[in-house]
Structure formats: C-alpha cells, structure tokens
C-alpha cells in the first residue's frame, strides 16, 4: 500500500472519525473504535472516504472490520480499485 494512500486515509480519519486521540499517534493497524470512533462516526467516515476516493462501499463491506483501522480501510479501497483482495476477513 502506498504512503500516499495511507496519508489521505489518515487525513479523512482525522477530519471525520471524531477520535478521542490524534490520529498521528496511532499505528496503521490501531483500532479506530478503541480510539473513540463511534458507530455513527464510522458512517461519516465511510461517506467521506467515498467522496475522497470517488468510490462506493457495497453492502457486503458494511462491517466494523472494514473501517476499524487505517490498514483495513486501505485494503478495502485497494480491493474496490481492483488491486489485491483485502486481508481483513470480509469476503468478496
């Protein structure tokens, strides 16, 4: 995954996930829900990611696991862009 992709995801997370900590203090695999993201904030995060990356998360991807870390989000975006399947457990 590119640093550019992770950087853009971190920008969107910082703006929309309403974390209780600075996203820059989190690792790429840190749990965003554990860092204070509520279920409703995850909706905003999903919609903001769709705007930022010009894509739409299909119903099968509406799981907590898809949005629970920067790495998981990057994997899902990669999968939607036809890159390698994500490794966070959801099935195509």
């Amino acid at each position: 995954m590119s640093d550019e992709l992770h950087g853009e995801i971190r920008r969107v997370v910082a703006e929309h996930a309403r974390l209780s900590v600075d996203v820059d203090t989190l690792a790429d695999d840190s749990d965003l829900f554990a860092a204070g993201m509520t279920s409703h904030a995850s909706v905003n995060l999903m919609l903001a990611l769709e705007d930022a990356f010009d894509l739409e998360f299909p119903d099968r991807m509406l799981t907590r696991g898809v949005f629970d870390s920067v790495n998981a989000i990057a994997a899902a975006i990669g999968e939607l862009n036809g890159l390698a399947p994500s490794s966070n457990g959801h099935q195509p």
Binding site: S39, N44, M46, L47, T63
Partner: protein
C-alpha cells in the same frame, strides 16, 4: 430461545452534522423511505432528533443481531410507527436473515429523544416461545 437486549445512545448534533456534510447521500444510505417520510418536519427539513432515535434503534438492533463481523446495512433495519405512534422494527435482507437464523421472529423497541441525545432499547425474542 433466550431474550437478547441491545441499547444505544446517539448525539443529535452528530446527526445534524452528517446531514450538513453529506446531505442526501447520508440520508439515503442510512434510513429507509418510511423513516425519511416519518422524520420530515413541517418545513420539509429532516428532523435530526427523530432521525437520531432511529439511528439508535439500528445500532441497538445490530448489537442484538450481529454475529462476528457480519455485514448488515443500516437501511435493512427500519422503524415504522403505527397510527398510535407506537414504533416497531422492520427487518429486511441480511438483517432479517440473521434474526431468522438465530431463531428470533420479533424485535421489540422503545426509543426516546430529549435535548441533545436520543436512545433506544431493542429486545429480540421468539413469539412462539413467549406465548
């Protein structure tokens, strides 16, 4: 089949923010057509307090239904009110399949909104066993 209970609390301001930032795409992805109709104020604008209560119902129901990291879209859990204003939960698609698979045929709900917050409690049970 044991009862299962879910609860959720939602900030009305968070709903207002989502409507402000994402407008129709937010409303379309999260709420059913019935909910959007029921939660439209007289001036034609979405009623954030009532929508917050309905989002709380969805999350409370997910806490009851979701096994592991199952994909259940928010629109597949909806609230409908009868002519007396009594709410009930309507399930569709993956949400309905999940309830059926777990032996639940009824989700009862109680919801409220006051000031900056809305809350809901959902109880899943089987009518057959409850009689």
């Amino acid at each position: 089949m044991p009862l299962r209970i879910g609860i959720d609390l939602v900030s009305v301001a968070s709903i207002e923010e989502s409507i402000r930032n994402h407008a129709a795409s937010y409303l379309r992805r999260v709420f059913t057509d019935v909910e959007l109709t029921d939660c439209t104020a007289a001036d034609g604008q979405p009623d954030a307090s009532r929508l917050a209560a309905r989002f709380a119902v969805k999350e409370a129901a997910l806490k009851v239904l979701r096994q592991g990291d199952e994909a259940i879209p928010w629109r597949e859990i909806g609230v409908r009110s009868d002519r007396h204003g009594r709410p009930s939960v309507e399930l569709a698609g993956a949400a309905e399949a999940s309830a059926r698979r777990q032996g639940y045929d009824t989700l009862d709900v109680s919801l409220t909104h006051e000031g900056p917050f809305a809350a809901a409690v959902v109880v899943a049970h089987s009518e057959e066993v409850s009689r």
